[in-house]
């Protein structure tokens, strides 16, 4: 029941906002901010539950179509829980950033709440139909948020974002329908069980005998279709071209949601759905996936180096950072023998996804402050010497930057360490080449710090004051969320380990 409550809570908030005709921008945003503490409390409560076989909460199965065995299952295990927590936190940061930059309004806040609800659905559903409905549901509010509150290029950028994601999803839908037709289920865990019994390819071959293709060829096609849907969201090169414009044109608090949460849906899907359901064909797909991942890492880092718009730099930086997750997943697809390396790669993926969400939120929060104080500037060369006026802001932004480039002791490092560790044991050349990405990250991020905060103070910023008390509070929360997992990774790994071991049993059964 808790899960359904969790999904309904934000919707209820949105409905209240819709009904509250007297709310102005600030009030509606404050209300939404306050309201989004409720799901956080709910998630925190779930976090205290005992884990039975890795599962912390489970909704009673809703029987949708009894004849077709369509039980819509929702459940929360450690990994889901971390993603739920991330959803709550990033939403909170997004509202805080909106409030700080004078954004708000009933529709704006309501849409963010609807988005949150859909994300809760994505991270809890264990059956394709509700999962996919929520997956698609995230599109509508995020499209509208970019479209209606974005910059000059927003209409075009929003449309691109919308159509590309939709196009990818259509392939995924077809892929799952094909599975339903041949093996009669779209339940993720049942599909995974069938996959580990090597029943999927056979089922497909029988159902689509008319095509004359072998089962594994058919399964490869289905896997690719599903991968496409997920890859657009992450995004993986070459399906990423919608991203820079969308991230740059969206209002900054919405960019936070896009990079902190929507991109994580892709990673989550790859980890929870793609890997367990298609182990039969993964080894043959792995070289392709690894190649794409390495291309994503390098292209993201290189392109970030060439940008002069702060939001575009961070947008490409996100591409680069999530590229490591895809690389780790691709490496896990390649070889299934080394359990230690697999668990390093997969644990690292989850940690990277969660920590990147928090770090990117903090960075975009900072960019939002720069933007709203300077009246909309966000060019790399628009600022200079701000550290003299805003030492605290520079300090917290700097910590976020160093976390992002993987400084040990901050949260970014553990994920990268585990991923590279796993990947190097599985596909060494990919890890070695991707180190270039890790190096370039430092180049463009430190250059950003230097251009914004160092050098002589530009005269037009002479009157800038440091962060306000509220802003300090939010950054303090973000810093705590960056430092604690960096020093005490077990806080996160405690939740992932049982689930990772379950996934390992599917991928590489103990002989």
């Amino acid at each position: 029941m808790l899960i359904l409550l969790l999904i309904i809570l934000p919707l209820f908030g949105a409905a209240m906002l819709a009904a509250w005709s007297g709310a102005d921008r600030t009030r509606s945003c404050r209300f939404a901010l306050g309201w989004s503490v409720l799901p956080l409390a709910c998630v925190a409560f779930i976090g205290t539950q005992d884990k039975i076989n890795g599962v912390m909460a489970e909704a009673p199965p809703l029987t949708w179509i009894p004849d077709a065995k369509m039980d819509l299952r929702f459940s929360i295990d450690g990994i889901s829980w971390l993603f739920l927590l991330l959803t709550c936190l990033v939403t909170l940061f997004s509202f805080a950033s909106s409030l700080a930059s004078g954004r708000g309004g009933r529709a704006y806040c309501g849409l963010i709440l609807v988005l949150q609800s859909a994300l809760f659905g994505v991270f809890t559903a264990r059956h394709f139909i509700p999962w996919f409905l929520c997956w698609e549901m995230t599109l509508i509010p995020s499209y509208l948020l970019i479209r209606l509150w974005g910059g000059h290029g927003a209409p075009r950028a929003a449309l691109r974002f919308f159509i590309m994601t939709l196009g990818g999803s259509a392939f995924m839908l077809v892929g799952f329908l094909a599975l339903q037709l041949s093996v009669g289920t779209m339940d993720f865990s049942e599909l995974a069980k069938l996959a580990s019994d090597h029943a999927l390819a056979g089922g497909l071959a029988k159902t689509f005998a008319a095509t004359g293709m072998t089962g594994s060829a058919l399964l490869t096609i289905v896997a690719l279709a599903v991968f496409l849907g997920l890859a657009v969201k992450v995004p993986v090169v070459p399906f990423h071209a919608w991203l820079p414009a969308a991230y740059a044109e969206a209002p900054t608090p919405v960019t936070m949601l896009l990079t902190g949460l929507l991109s994580k849906m892709g990673v989550y899907g790859l980890l929870r759905i793609f890997l367990p359901i298609f182990p039969e064909v993964l080894p043959s797909l792995a070289p392709l996936l690894t190649g794409l991942a390495v291309a994503t890492i390098l292209l993201g880092a290189m392109a970030a180096l060439a940008q002069t718009d702060l939001k575009r730099i961070l947008a490409y930086s996100s591409v680069n950072h999530l590229g490591y997750c895809v690389m780790a997943i691709a490496a896990s697809a390649a070889v299934h023998a080394d359990r230690g390396a697999l668990s390093a790669a997969l644990s690292g993926t989850v940690l990277q996804a969660i920590n990147h969400g928090v770090i990117a939120s903090a960075l975009f929060f900072g960019i939002g402050i720069l933007e709203s104080r300077s009246g909309g500037s966000r060019g790399l060369n628009d600022f200079g010497g701000l550290r003299a006026k805003t030492p605290v802001f520079c300090g917290v932004f700097g910590i976020a930057v160093f976390a992002s480039l993987g400084l040990p002791g901050l949260s970014g490092f553990i994920g990268e360490f585990l991923m590279f560790n796993g990947v190097f044991a599985l596909t060494p050349w990919a890890a070695a080449v991707s180190l270039i990405g890790l190096l370039l990250t430092a180049v463009f991020l430190l250059r950003m710090i230097r251009k914004i905060f160092h050098g002589p103070l530009k005269p037009n910023f002479a009157k800038w004051a440091d962060l306000s008390g509220t802003e300090r509070g939010w950054f303090a929360l973000a810093m705590a969320l960056i430092v604690i997992p960096g020093l005490w990774p077990q806080a996160l790994l405690h939740f992932t380990n049982p689930v990772i071991l379950n996934i390992l049993d599917l991928l590489s059964p103990i002989p």
Binding site: G105, E136, Y143, L148, A303, G385, L446
Partner: protein, 680 residues
């Protein structure tokens, strides 16, 4: 005290790195007006950690029979899947000596800083960064885990970034900080790769773990037995990668270019970076992981590379130091050169010689930088040695301590530690079976060292003042002078532990029992080397004296040696063009590639996406044509309702997406109908 410490050592040892780190953490929250408090916290923390280090050092003086390691710990830091990752601390003669040296030298640098930086507005912040720097370095030294060492190593990089860029308003300082971090990160990436390679092969990060550690025979044998890329064994490949990491931190050619630029930091920072921390980390890494290097043979690839890179660096930097005019840049290049000496020693198997030179160098280089700071302070921030001159009479005390440091570095005989430590390095290089090259390079570099240090001393302290600006130099206050005298004492006293008569340090580090035999001092082998060292320093100093004994009174007059060397002189002054080369060969191509990727993005990927978009739109139109009225109205109603509330104004495009939504809705219903029809 040491006896009381021993049982609790495994716990208390953690305090050595943690106290300064904690002090850094606490002072980070103190506002600028509490600068004094911050400096007290930092000094207090380091003082306690220095006491503990010395206690640990005393404990380490008498290791159990046949045991090199006094203490090693391991505890689980985190568990991923079902694999536990352990970290811990390690106390052996090497880390005990290093920890004692780092805390001791750093403590005096801290004291000096309270005087030197007293007029600084962000005084407290400075001590916060210094503490972080020391704490991280101590963690490097005491770590029993390659991972923990790497993490501390990166923190050292962060602290150096913050300190080199302390005067962030200066674009040159901001650029130098960034350059230092990124150049060393090139090495760090290699280190990282080497680390995960070793971990992947041995499943442990611990150096010593009751026979299962990386540096113990089992792991070493298994690493040396597996061949990987390029015909190298795992241990060879990994140790070459670790070497690249060490080259970055320890400023070895070609990753040295950040070190001279690091002079942009305040002078105490230069002293800390160039002496006790940072650059020592690279040498220490190689010394720590030396068994892995050794497992490929004493003349195997990794050690040969180490020796040659060290030799080339030693000679290169000594040449470049000749052509510098900035008092701190000369010292910076001399550091690069001396680090080269340490690498030669490591490459030729002389771990103890390298550590001895490292520790001796830490004392006299800190001394030199701090007294250079005193000179700069006294000359009203002048750093050009051509504009100084005659300071001997104006700053007599500074002159004395500087002279001690200079003679130690140049290798003046008998009572200066530099003489004996350099001799130990030469001894190690001479006995190496892998070739004569590194030894020859070291000999040339040692000769040049005596030459350029004499040049510096003559130009700064002798002759007559050459510029009105430095006319009224003043001696520095006691808070600056006391640390100088302490370090000067250290630079001389240390010599007693490394003479051929009583090579105590070497035997202790190697886990042998030390003995004293005065007759070894005039054994043939020792005499040969002592004679060689003596010749080198005599020739170098005399030659320099002949060239620079009567410097021109005009500060703009060309350098006497420069006149003879012509174009070569400018080439030396520019560090033999490495920076210019990197601008052309790395930075420009990188910018070009990045620009190319950006063009690729805009000209290829975006149009590709536009094509995909059109295809999807077309599908949308086709299905939209058969749309039902009700669905259409539903979507439009919701969307326009939202838009009415929106702050933004819609334009002509706003109608379209709804139709795509319609399309997906319709497509889904069609597919569902299809499904039920098929499954019925």
């Amino acid at each position: 005290m040491a006896e009381a410490l021993k049982p609790h050592l495994s716990t208390i040892l953690w305090l050595v790195p943690l106290l300064p780190l904690l002090a850094g953490g606490i002072t980070a929250f103190l506002p600028d007006r509490h600068g004094k408090t911050a400096s007290r916290i930092a000094l207090g923390a380091l003082f306690v950690s220095c006491l503990i280090s010395i206690g640990a050092f005393i404990c380490a003086l008498h290791p159990a029979e046949g045991e090199k390691i006094i203490l090693h710990t391991a505890s689980t830091w985190f568990v991923f899947g079902d694999v536990a990752l352990k970290v811990g601390l390690l106390l052996d003669p090497m880390s005990a000596a290093m920890a004692a040296m780092v805390t001791f030298v750093a403590f005096w640098i801290f004291v000096y800083s309270t005087g030197y930086m007293s007029k600084e507005k962000r005084f407290g912040r400075f001590f916060c960064f210094l503490s972080l720097f020391c704490g991280a370095m101590l963690m490097v030294v005491l770590s029993n885990s390659l991972l923990l060492l790497f993490m501390a190593w990166e923190l050292v990089g962060l602290a150096s970034y913050l300190l080199i860029g302390f005067y962030f308003e200066k674009p040159s300082a901001a650029a130098a900080a960034q350059k230092a971090f990124i150049t060393t990160r090139v090495g760090d990436m290699a280190f990282f790769l080497g680390m995960i390679w070793l971990y992947g092969h041995t499943d442990t990060m611990l150096f010593y773990d009751h026979g299962k550690g990386l540096l113990e025979s089992g792991a070493l044998a298994s690493m040396a037995g597996v061949t990987t890329v390029g015909g190298l064994t795992v241990s060879a490949a990994a140790s070459l990668l670790l070497l690249v990491g060490a080259m970055g931190k320890s400023g070895q050619v070609p990753l040295h270019t950040w070190l001279p630029d690091a002079m942009e930091g305040p002078t105490p920072v230069s002293a800390l970076i160039h002496a006790a921390t940072m650059v020592a980390a690279g040498v220490f890494l190689v010394a720590r992981t030396h068994p892995i290097f050794m497992s490929c043979g004493a003349t195997g690839w990794p050690l040969t590379a180490t020796a040659w890179i060290g030799g080339i660096t030693a000679l290169y930097a000594a040449c470049v130091a000749l052509g510098q005019n900035d008092i701190k840049r000369i010292l910076a290049y001399s550091t690069v050169s001396q680090l080269g000496f340490m690498m030669i020693a490591l490459g030729t198997g002389g771990v103890a010689a390298a550590m001895f030179h490292l520790i001796a160098h830490a004392f006299f280089k800190a001394l030199l930088f701090l007294s250079a700071g005193s000179v700069i302070h006294g000359c009203h921030d002048e750093q050009d040695i051509r504009k100084m001159g005659g300071l001997r009479t104006e700053m007599p005390k500074t002159f004395i301590v500087y002279a001690v440091g200079m003679m130690a570095l140049a290798g003046f005989p008998f009572i200066f530690s530099g003489f004996w430590s350099k001799e130990a390095v030469l001894h190690s290089a001479m006995g190496w079976k892998g070739g004569f090259g590194p030894f020859a390079l070291a000999v040339c570099a040692a000769l040049l060292t005596a030459f350029y240090m004499t040049r510096q001393a003559l130009l700064v302290f002798f002759g007559k003042p050459r510029t009105p600006g430095v006319h009224h130099p003043h001696e520095s206050p006691p808070v600056i002078l006391v640390p100088l005298f302490v370090l000067a004492g250290g630079a001389m006293l240390l010599s007693v532990i490394g003479t051929p008569a009583w090579p105590w340090f070497e035997e202790w580090v190697n886990g042998e029992s030390a003995h004293f035999d005065i007759s070894l001092l005039w054994s043939a082998a020792a005499l040969k080397l002592v004679g060689l060292s003596l010749t080198l320093v005599t020739v170098g100093v005399t030659a320099s004296w002949f060239v620079y004994r009567n410097p021109s009174t005009d500060s703009n007059a060309p350098d006497p040696l420069g006149r003879k060397l012509g174009g070569v002189w400018g080439f030396l002054g520019a560090g033999m063009g490495f920076d210019a080369l990197y601008d052309k060969a790395i930075i420009a191509p990188l910018a070009f590639i990045a620009g190319g990727v950006d063009v690729l993005e805009r000209q290829i990927f975006v149009p590709m996406m536009a094509m995909a978009e059109s295809a999807i739109k077309l599908m949308g139109r086709l299905t939209g044509a058969t749309d039902e009225k009700g669905l259409n109205d539903g979507f439009n109603g919701v969307c326009s309702g939202l838009q009415n509330q929106a702050d933004a104004v819609s334009d002509s495009q706003s109608g379209r997406p709804q139709s795509y939504l319609r399309a997906i809705g319709l497509a889904m219903s069609v597919l569902l109908i299809l499904y039920f029809w098929l499954s019925a």
